[in-house]
């Protein structure tokens, strides 16, 4: 690694040294004759900038939950996917949106905005710029996430199990609060140097379901309510030096993760030769520390040639088992114009993942990329070709080496402002993709068993067209096709994805956007399962099908100057299933998905005076999975009323 760093350092130094010799820069042509004449807008404006100019907006409102309690299980999917109000609060509550924005003093600026919906759903942003010397940005974002709660329906009739869950409707939620602060400091006498200090603090609090497996003559699943009280504290200190033609940045990152929740325990019973018995901890989340040093550099060789490099050394420590892993990542890229319109980028990346825990996987990854881009101005066509080579070497894992060869070709064209399109093709050839490999197959003890969900050959095509025949109408569509197959295990995939968008504005007062998306995918793979006579494999590859239809429409209507309407509607139907008839005849109803998620929000704003408006909004969501247990479906209606003042 040190050799590589030395070579790259010499390269950067060399390029820097020869740069003035080659600097027949059009940039200098642009500015050479008038550098002394600084007609600076900032200079002329500086005297007038001593006065304060602010604009304010505040919109208090009240939100009514108009649903019946029984319509709001809002829970959990268990085995199925999706849920109504997964990331939203739905209780009646007061709220407000606001902003304060403006300048004060000499070149000082403040931008403060926020949205309070509920104590568990609020977002704020503050940007303070003091004379361009100190720039501070703070974000605050809090939202909820309703978590899984597995009702264990499939096991309750057949197994004895302990089930100590709380009421999932109320308890299985995590409240995530993230605070980010970024500060930049520039010393006016040394504007080439910038100092940076970033802080990021994440608090996750709530409850989730935790499960463990006990075993006697039958299996037991113990499901308990686990407290979530996790903190992630991240500091980044860095500096950046920008002296033409070189930019260098260095940063040090420290991230500490702490789980402060009370550990869960379970009294394990069983037979004497089991690994442990009695009261033991489970579902433990270890505290960890991560530190990382990163250096990035870019040197501008000529006007169009740039050399970029990044080197990261990181270390992660698990404070529970004292396990440690080291990460090193080196990335270099050279981009330059070969001839007029033809640009080349050459990338090389090396990653080393070194896990010091016994019998765990370590990995070396090397990636090389050659990327060519050709712009034909007259025909208004862009052509791009890319070849990527990857090699992954692993230790303590059966698949010791994987090689990937990726070819990418694309063409985009925009013959007029009314018409443009593109087509892209990607091919991946993969030798020995990541897989589970065992010396003996349960089906054929004399043979190896190879199982994976990855492919050795992948072809992808995506194409799109955009038409804008008039300034009031546009139409666009994308078509994506993927074909994958693994000849080693005879698995395959075929996926089609199509999306069409339309925008129309019949009058200045009305505009409408609509999108329709369609997904159809089939995967076939070999599944091995137990039978009365040992292991078996289905006669044919087991198919897994996915289908999704998504329709979205958005409408803006301003019938009169004082009144504006906004309506958003979306419906997504998602289905997935697999042929489990050979494996277990009755599991289909517990694993198949047939979900319909409908969302509607609509509202209007009416200007009562020049600065004040009345705002009303209605929101509806309905989540329904007809293939899964119906009592987990949910819906809600919410109505908002409020006023907005702008001054």
């Amino acid at each position: 690694m040190s050799k590589k760093i030395t070579i790259i350092s010499f390269l950067i130094l060399f390029v820097w040294m020869i740069n003035p010799l080659l600097a027949n820069s059009d940039n200098l042509v642009l500015f050479k004759n008038e550098l002394a004449k600084k007609f600076s807008l900032a200079e002329k404006e500086s005297k007038s900038q001593n006065k304060s100019e602010f604009s304010y907006y505040i919109a208090p409102r009240y939100r009514f939950l108009a649903s019946k309690k029984e319509d709001l299980p809002i829970l959990v999917s268990g085995l199925s996917g999706g849920r109504v109000a997964e990331y939203q609060t739905v209780e009646s509550s007061p709220g407000a949106d606001f902003y304060i924005k403006g300048s004060f003093g000499k070149r000082n600026y403040l931008d403060l905005s926020g949205s309070f919906i509920h104590s568990d759903e609020q977002k704020y942003y503050a940007n303070l710029d003091i004379g361009r010397v100190v720039r501070n940005t703070t974000y605050f974002n809090r939202f909820i996430h309703r978590l899984d709660h597995d009702p264990l329906t499939n096991v309750e009739d057949y197994h004895e199990f302990v089930f100590v869950d709380s009421n999932p409707t109320d308890e299985y939620i995590t409240r995530r609060t993230e605070i980010r602060n970024r500060t930049e400091l520039v010393i006016p006498d040394f504007p080439q140097v910038k100092f940076k200090a970033n802080v990021r603090y994440i608090i996750e609090k709530g409850h989730q379901q935790a499960r463990t497996l006990d075993q006697c003559f039958v299996c037991h699943i113990d499901a308990q309510t686990q407290e979530i009280d996790q903190r992630t504290m991240e500091f980044i200190l860095g500096t950046e030096v920008n002296v033409k033609p070189v930019t260098i940045s260095y940063s040090f990152m420290s991230r500490r993760f702490d789980d402060r929740a009370t550990p869960l325990t379970h009294v394990y019973t069983g037979l004497p030769w089991f690994a442990y018995l009695g009261e033991q901890e489970f579902a433990h989340i270890p505290d960890s520390d991560k530190t990382a040093h990163n250096v990035k550099a870019r040197v501008k060789v000529l006007n169009e040639a740039h050399l970029f490099g990044s080197y990261t050394v990181a270390s992660v420590k698990n404070k529970h088992n004292d396990g440690k892993l080291d990460l090193k990542n080196f990335l270099s890229r050279l981009s330059a114009n070969l001839i007029k319109g033809l640009r080349i980028a050459v990338n090389y990346q090396k990653e080393k993942y070194d896990n010091h825990i016994e019998n765990t996987i370590s990995r070396d990854t090397s990636i090389g990329v050659v990327d060519l881009f050709y712009h034909i101005p007259k025909q208004k066509i862009n052509l791009r070709g890319k070849f990527e080579w990857q090699k992954v070497k692993r230790s303590h894992f059966e698949i010791e080496e994987t090689k990937k060869y990726i070819t990418y070709l694309s063409a985009s064209f925009y013959p007029s402002s009314k018409f443009n399109g593109y087509i892209r093709y990607k091919r991946k050839d993969i030798n020995n993709p990541f897989a589970m490999l065992e010396d003996e197959s349960p089906l054929e003890p004399t043979q190896e068993l190879l199982m994976t969900n990855l492919y050795t050959d992948v072809n992808e095509v995506i194409c799109g067209l955009n038409l804008t025949p008039t300034s009031r109408f546009s139409l666009g569509g994308n078509l994506f096709w993927k074909s994958g197959k693994n000849e080693d295990i005879n698995s395959k995939e075929n996926t089609y994805n199509f999306i069409i968008n339309m925008w129309i504005a019949p009058t200045n007062k009305l505009n409408l956007t609509a999108s329709y998306g369609f997904l159809d995918s089939e995967i076939k793979n070999n599944l091995i399962y137990g039978t009365d006579y040992g292991y078996a494999m289905g006669d044919e590859d087991v198919p897994y099908n996915r289908k999704a239809n998504t329709f979205l429409i958005s409408l803006n209507f301003n019938p009169i100057e004082k009144l504006s309407f906004l309506v958003d509607f979306s419906i997504t139907k998602g289905k997935s299933n697999f042929d489990s008839s050979d494996i277990a005849p009755d599991i289909a109803e517990l694993t198949d998905l047939d979900i319909t998620h409908t969302r509607l929000s609509g509202g209007f704003s009416y200007s009562l005076t020049k600065n004040m408006a009345f705002i009303a909004k209605y929101k509806y969501e309905n989540y329904k999975d007809t293939a899964w247990v119906p009592e987990y479906n949910g819906k809600f209606h919410i109505i908002y009323f409020g006023f907005g003042w702008k001054f």
Binding site: A42, D129, K296, H375
Partner: protein, 303 residues
């Protein structure tokens, strides 16, 4: 880390080959366009005809730039549009730099003249730059609304090109982008520092920056978790729960044979089969890794 000498030699050869070509092809259309003999007239002159644009520009970040930030450079309108004397004299829109009329690389070059530091540090070799995207495709330097001079908000702006993601963000399992709790830029750096425009060196490091509880390193690790989160998950949205590519048990059984238990009739009794073949993570709940062994003494992620 061992260095492959052939690769280093290869890089050096390509690098010097490129320099050679640069020396013999040091011309571009932008330089020619700028050879117009014009001088700077100052932003107040521009205001006389372009008052609305001038007033908008004044309140943007570019209008607030301090002198010390751009020593030796022209500020104001002509910092981007070039000297305007000929344009003013002849009232000819062709005699001033219009970013719309330049090639993507030429127009981006004007921005990069100042924006050399992070996050634009790697822009010239980024995927977007090499796809013919210019800075002004996403940013409007005259824009007064919103942050970072974006033409529209993230994710709406990204969806204008990445349409296929509109549908996946609406699938039953998704990151909260539609709910405005996250943005595309929460994970992606559109200026292209790292591969796939990620905000971290690798996919896993990006995921762990928010999901730190899954980073371990665990005593008993699940191999695909340390290899690549995307072996099981699709971060842009899925039909199956928890952003899984396929629902259980299909996803798991592509790599693992199902149970065949010798101690009880798990495989012979159809009712018991339902328990064993419905959802693997009911029992293997610590699937992202664990520091505790399972009852067998091995890492089976049940504890």
């Amino acid at each position: 880390m061992k260095v492959n000498k052939n690769i280093i030699v290869g890089i050096c050869i390509i690098t010097f080959f490129v320099f050679y070509l640069l020396l013999i092809n040091n011309t571009n259309s932008y330089a020619k366009k700028k050879s117009i003999e014009a001088t700077y007239v100052g932003s107040e002159t521009c205001k006389e005809c372009h008052e609305d644009t001038f007033n908008k520009f004044k309140s943007t970040i570019h209008g607030r730039i301090a002198d010390f930030e751009a020593k030796g450079q022209v500020l104001g309108c002509e910092a981007c549009h070039g000297p305007g004397s000929v344009h003013v004299e002849e009232q000819d829109p062709e005699k001033i730099v219009s970013l719309k009329k330049l090639t993507p690389q030429e127009s981006s070059k004007i921005c990069l003249n100042c924006h050399r530091e992070e996050p634009q540090i790697a822009w010239p070799s980024s995927t977007h730059a090499l796809s013919g995207i210019s800075c002004t495709d996403c940013h409007d330097p005259h824009q007064t609304r919103g942050k970072f001079l974006l033409k529209s908000k993230d994710p709406k702006l990204c969806f204008q090109c990445h349409r296929e993601k509109i549908a996946s963000m609406n699938y039953p399992s998704h990151h909260p982008i539609k709910e405005k709790k996250m943005k595309c830029s929460s994970c992606h750096d559109t200026h292209g520092t790292f591969r796939a425009n990620l905000r971290a060196e690798t996919i896993n490091e990006l995921c762990f920056s928010c999901h730190a509880e899954k980073q371990g390193p665990f005593t008993y690790e699940h191999a695909p978790v340390v290899e690549n989160c995307l072996l099981c998950h699709d971060s842009h949205g899925t039909i199956a729960n928890n952003l899984l590519k396929q629902n259980q048990p299909f996803l798991c059984m592509q790599c693992h044979p199902g149970h065949e238990d010798h101690y009880h009739p798990a495989v012979t009794n159809p009712e018991w089969r339902i328990s064993f073949y419905t959802k693997c993570t009911q029992c293997h709940s610590q699937i992202h890794g664990s520091d505790f062994p399972s009852l067998s003494g091995h890492g089976r992620f049940t504890r």
